[in-house]
């Protein structure tokens, strides 16, 4: 299983999205995003904003990073702490 996390405003758009997906060959963050397009078009649009970063197991990665079973994939909008 792959754990999915959506932070900040992305969490509002991700309401109803399952918190985990099955691992599969060739899975990347881009593929996960594509898989959300049909059922969650507004979330897909938000995730396609250039400022959105992704992390895999708490490390910032690119959209083509392979995802392996047991990973934690998080979608991060621009941060606003401090």
């Amino acid at each position: 299983m792959i754990k999915l996390l959506f932070f900040g405003r992305l969490g509002d758009f991700a309401e109803g999205v399952s918190g985990s997906i099955e691992a599969a060959e060739g899975l990347t963050p881009a593929v996960v995003r594509e898989g959300l397009a049909a059922d969650y078009p507004s979330l897909f649009a938000e995730l396609s904003q250039p400022q959105v970063l992704i992390s895999l197991n708490q490390m910032i990665v690119g959209w083509d990073q392979p995802i392996f079973d047991g990973a934690e994939l998080a979608f991060l909008p621009p941060v606003t702490g401090g």
Binding site: L5, F7, G8, R9, G11, D12, Q51, S55, Q58, E72, A74, L76, P77, P78, V79, T80, G81, G82
Partner: protein
């Protein structure tokens, strides 16, 4: 170098944190502290409260990376970073950065560096409540500009 990083819902005591930095080492000749507070205005409208979300397993390691970078750039004896999460009210303390060094320039610059990087890199997100309506705070270009003046590669 001594570094302390805490993410907590509870408030912090500025004097106590200063005292810990002051007493780290007798070589400490300068302590610079910064405290960030909840403003009562967001986009020129008053706020009722602010809620801070973060990514628990990632935020602390990102803050540690920022502190480690600062340590490589300046001569530091101690750095403390405290960031609060959860619901906060106007005038509440949000963030504390304290830096102890031998000389003031290191402490001043490192404190500013840590804050500039924290604002643009650390995984915190603010949501404000304005008259019962909640919305996420947008990131500011000015924060990005502030970070870029350090001319560091990410």
């Amino acid at each position: 170098m001594n570094s302390t990083i805490r993410i907590q819902a509870d408030d912090f005591d500025l004097a106590a944190e200063y005292e810990l930095l002051r007493q780290l080492d007798s070589a400490v000749g300068a302590v610079v502290t910064f405290t960030g507070l909840v403003r009562d205005l967001e986009k020129n409208a008053s706020i009722n409260s602010l809620t801070l979300q973060h990514y628990p397993s990632m935020t602390e390691s990102l803050l540690q990376e920022i502190v480690d970078q600062a340590q490589q750039l300046w001569h530091l004896i101690g750095v403390t970073v405290i960031h609060r999460v959860g619901e906060l009210l106007p005038s509440d303390q949000i963030v504390f950065v304290g830096v102890a060094s031998q000389h003031r320039a290191d402490a001043f610059e490192a404190a500013q560096f840590v804050m500039d990087y924290l604002k643009t890199k650390a995984t915190f997100w603010k949501k404000v409540d304005q008259n019962g309506e909640q919305h996420w705070v947008e990131s500011k270009d000015s924060d990005q500009t502030a970070k870029e003046r350090w001319h560091k590669d990410d």
